[in-house]
């Protein structure tokens, strides 16, 4: 099937579009020049040093990671059970409930941010960090429900019967059978969610407070007034970190094991 020309062509095109900018990014980040320029004017690591030295990036990275991790976990913890109920349960008005869980992606994030700021942060005096987590959780819920749902829809319900029949209660069945069978979906959802959170700007823009800001917001701020490659260097560092995580995963468990089954 790999021999199919159309398939190969489309795949090549897809990867070209996705990865082309990575190449440019690498060029820009390693430049010795002082502006965002491609091709680079000589090679140097100075922008990496500058990036690591820039305090707002470092402190906001911490916030971003905490928010992304917390909201991904929360979104999955709330979304996966809901998916299960939606896919396996006899719910009256199921379509409505299902669409309800998708609504956060349909409202412009900027508006959601404004709403959360106005109603929760100012109205209910919830801290910036907590509001960020709530907002991101809500934003990620559709990923959890939809992506996981799409994979659960295809799995064989007899497997759950078999588990129950073997004496596993609903929880055990869920954790040992349903969940692993859904794993590709859950991991896809988790990665999508984590990265969506990690890169989110519009939602986070207003949800910052004194001393609390997220990395992408800081990067956007930075890039709006400074024309140097620091932001490219930060991106390369993030990319390198994710490659490292992937490599370690591959070493320890095998990447395909994480996704496949």
């Amino acid at each position: 099937m790999i021999r199919r020309p159309l398939l190969s062509l489309l795949t090549a095109l897809a990867f070209l579009i996705m990865l082309g900018p990575v190449v440019i990014l690498l060029g820009v980040a390693f430049t010795a020049g002082s502006t965002l320029t491609f091709p680079p004017e000589g090679l140097s690591l100075r922008w990496f040093a500058a990036a690591l030295d820039y305090q707002p990036f470092i402190s906001s990275l911490g916030t971003s990671l905490v928010v992304a991790a917390l909201s991904t976990v929360l979104a999955l913890a709330l979304g996966v059970p809901a998916t299960l109920a939606l896919q396996r349960g006899l719910i009256p008005g199921r379509g409505v409930v299902e669409n309800l869980f998708a609504t956060p992606i349909i409202v412009p994030e900027l508006v959601l941010g404004l709403a959360l700021f106005q109603q929760l942060m100012v109205g209910l005096q919830i801290t910036a960090l907590a509001t960020l987590v709530i907002g991101h959780t809500v934003l990620l819920l559709p990923y959890a429900v939809r992506v996981v749902g799409a994979s659960l829809a295809l799995s064989d319900p007899r497997l759950e019967e078999a588990a129950r029949g073997l004496g596993a209660g609903p929880l055990r069945t869920f954790f040992q059978v349903t969940l692993p069978v859904m794993r590709p979906g859950i991991i896809s959802a988790a990665i999508l969610a984590f990265i969506t959170s990690l890169n989110n700007v519009p939602l986070s823009l207003l949800l910052t407070g004194p001393g609390v800001s997220t990395l992408p917001v800081e990067m956007l701020n930075y890039v709006q007034s400074s024309y140097d490659p620091v932001v490219a260097a930060v991106s390369v560092l993030l990319l390198a970190a994710s490659v490292a995580v992937a490599l370690v995963t591959e070493r320890l468990v095998g990447f395909n094991k994480v996704f496949g089954r």
Binding site: S34, T35, L36, T37, Y54, Q55, P56, L114, F117, Q118, V122, Q125, T127, L205, L206, T208, G209, P210, G211, S213, V217, E218, N221, Y222, V223, Q224, S225, S226, Y227, D228
Partner: protein
């Protein structure tokens, strides 16, 4: 959580640009002098103004550094307090234009509207805004989007150059509409315009003088021209928030910001041109903007009618999009 009256910390809402340097030359020395801990809340003008507006009943911020035109909007919304000149002695020392006529926060720095251009692509330094209307358009040009400070200033500058005066926005829009279709892009950040120039996509663009400083300092083929007519500038002001939890600290901070020593260091490190006559204007500033960097009003620069800009912001946005950005 509400911040009650609080004399130990000072929350300063500021631009997200160069915050590290700002901490170093302004916030930390201030902390040392007063023992008040400074916490920064950064973001662009609009975002911070929006937050202040929503937070109006329970403000948690003391000082806001904000562009003059957004400051005008904020004043109208009742977000800021007038300042008693007694509490900010430096206000008596600074250039007269920098003092707010209504008694709100003063300007602490300013930026001049001019033409940033590629010295290698534009043969002769432009002396008039007319360069943009030159049918030859050597090398192409970009215009500022209405969303950046230079945008509304450009409308006024055009009005002043071709119409009845600096309030003739109609003429400004009309004339800009004539070249709108030829503009490569309506840029929305300094990075964008710098990048367009550097990659040679355009040869010139109206911009603020600060945008040119990095490139000039780095020795790139970038020049900044100050047209003879239509000299508009924008100022960054320091406002005290209405109901600030630490009012005394806020006053001290504004005064500190106007201190000639502090202004000199800010000029050196952040490229913000000082408003205190005793502060040191850097060489780079005069290389880019000449004498106007030292005394803008003497060079014929003015802020335009800020209440006009603030009041017409919605209709100007629509007009710009409908008539110019085509």
């Amino acid at each position: 959580p509400t911040r009650e009256a609080d004399t130990d910390t000072l929350v300063v809402s500021t631009f997200s640009f160069a915050t590290e340097q700002f901490m170093e030359v302004v916030a930390e020395p201030f902390e040392e002098r007063t023992g008040i801990e400074v916490v920064l809340d950064t973001g662009n003008n609009a975002t911070r103004l929006t937050k202040l507006r929503i937070n109006k009943e329970r403000p948690d911020t003391d000082v806001v550094l904000i562009s003059d035109y957004y400051a005008a909007i904020g004043k109208e919304m009742g977000l800021f307090e007038r300042i008693d000149p007694e509490t900010v002695p430096n206000m008596a020392e600074i250039q007269p234009w920098a003092v707010d006529p209504e008694g709100y926060g003063p300007a602490y720095t300013f930026q001049l509207l001019g033409l940033m251009y590629r010295t290698d692509l534009v043969e002769e330094e432009p002396t008039s805004w007319g360069a943009l209307w030159d049918p030859e358009h050597p090398g192409g040009f970009a215009l500022p989007d209405i969303s950046v400070s230079a945008g509304p200033l450009m409308v006024l500058a055009t009005g002043e150059t071709y119409g009845s005066g600096p309030t003739d926005a109609d003429t400004g829009f009309e004339r800009l509409a004539a070249i709108g279709p030829d503009a490569l892009q309506f840029y929305s950040s300094s990075t964008e315009v710098s990048s367009l120039l550097e990659r040679g996509e355009i040869a010139m663009a109206p911009s603020l003088d600060n945008f040119a400083m990095n490139a000039v300092e780095a020795g790139q083929p970038i020049g900044f021209a100050l047209p003879e007519e239509g000299r508009l500038m924008t100022a960054n002001t320091a406002q005290i928030v209405n109901g600030a939890p630490n009012r005394a600290g806020a006053e001290a901070f504004v005064d500190f910001l106007l201190d000639p020593q502090v202004q000199s260091e800010v000029a050196e490190v952040i490229y913000d041109k000082p408003v205190h006559p005793d502060a040191q204007v850097t060489d780079l500033m005069t290389r880019v903007s000449g004498e106007a960097a030292v005394n803008p009003t003497e060079a014929g620069y003015h802020q335009g009618d800020l209440d006009l800009i603030a009041g017409e912001r919605s209709s100007w946005l629509d007009r710009f999009v409908e008539e110019v950005a085509r």
